[in-house]
């Protein structure tokens, strides 16, 4: 069965390693924080200027001056710091952030990603996404494998305006975990009960299936 958003986040959380500084995008990526193992040390960075984010505040303790990049009220943990936007992107551009997890509208088999604009329809802007994808060495995309019409979002070539070129390394979708390789999307894991054929049918870009593909573990 295909994963729900929380399960996608849960699977991605397994990619987070001890000692990682992690930037989480808006949407599914934000949920990843809920599933990171408690026996490893991880710090969350938000590009609006905070390192060491904690959970949401208790009701009544929210502070307009302490938010994340999704404009949500947050708290900070001991060891946290606040800083200006230029410093925040120094962390990102300077490769001090170890892992970037973000959503996508489309990913191409060469690692191109599109997630900021649908010409003539939706123009919210790229926020920090272009800086993140241009700089991060370790980018995981959290996404649905297909759109509502059932069309693949893992493409030969993106149709929407790009956010970055050749930058996505790994995708965790509702159907599969895939690695972006020189030859295309390499299938690493299947969602429980989802067949290789179903994944193949939902993938427009080149899908590489090498041997037996295990089911995901959480």
């Amino acid at each position: 069965m295909a994963l729900d958003k929380n399960q996608i986040a849960q699977r991605i959380a397994r990619e987070v390693q001890d000692g990682y500084y992690v930037n989480l995008g808006i949407g599914i990526p934000t949920l990843v924080a809920n599933y990171v193992r408690e026996d490893i040390d991880v710090e969350f960075q938000s590009e609006n200027g905070v390192l060491g984010m904690g959970p949401f505040p208790y009701d009544g303790e929210e502070d307009a001056d302490i938010i994340n990049a999704g404009k949500q009220t947050i708290t900070t943990l001991p060891g946290a710091s606040f800083f200006d936007s230029a410093t925040s992107f120094s962390m990102i551009r300077g490769k001090h952030v170890d892992l970037t997890i973000l959503g996508a509208m489309e990913v191409a088999e060469n690692g191109d990603i599109a997630n900021w604009k649908i010409p003539g329809k939706m123009v919210k802007g790229m926020g920090g996404a272009m800086d993140l994808v241009a700089s991060a060495e370790n980018i995981i995309v959290a996404m649905m494998h297909t759109n509502r019409a059932g069309e693949s979002k893992l493409l030969k070539k993106c149709s929407l305006p790009l956010t970055g070129v050749g930058c996505v390394k790994k995708i965790v979708s509702n159907l599969a975990v895939l690695e972006v390789t020189a030859a295309g999307f390499k299938l690493l894991e299947r969602a429980p009960g989802v067949s290789v054929e179903e994944i193949q049918a939902a993938t427009e870009g080149a899908l590489i299936v090498d041997g037996d593909i295990p089911e995901m573990k959480f």
Partner: protein, 233 residues
Amino acid sequence: MITKKVTGVDAALEGVESGMTMMLGGFGLSGIPENSIAKLVALDVNNLTCISNNAGVDDFGLGLLLQKKQIKKMVSSYVGENAEFERQMLSGELDVELIPQGTLAERCRAAQAGFPAIYTPAGYGTEVAEGKETREFDGKMYVLEHAFKADFAFVKAWKGDAAGNLVFKGTARNFNPNMCGAATITVAEVEELVPVGTLDPNQIHIPGIFVQRIFQGETYEKRIEQRTVRTRD
């Protein structure tokens, strides 16, 4: 000591004219120069170019200027919370230049620090880089982005003193420090104007040299955009 203190928002915005380019600090509605924006609305200046990471919401922040059609052009990284904005943009009334957030911050910092341009990897290979010079360094491609030129920068700090020194709080800091000294005139509004000498010289986020005018804002609504809380166990 050189004093930057002015009597209030009226004096702080002296010289503001239609057609000018403004930088405005803030991320979402956090750390926005509320009093300066209210005064811009009251002054009824128009044809403004506004450099600001976001465009407010319909009834707060830069949304107030958008409602009155005072803005000709927005330079922002993310504008997704504002229906009137979207309407004006899609209808072509409003000119919008969307740029990466880190590029926005650094084009401000370049202006502050006297750099003419920077090379950033953000946006390479995308429409953001169209028509711009690109260049390879050590096998990676970069886009040449130029320092902003602005007439006024409006920033909001937590505390400040008459010397123009500023201290920010939490993530309300964001773009505010990077915009100080990045325009011809930097106007800082603060929640609390403290006596000179009470701020620790080690702990000043922006030295007064980057600020031309400072005043204590009359009121701060500090609206929260996404109130997310958890319940106590």
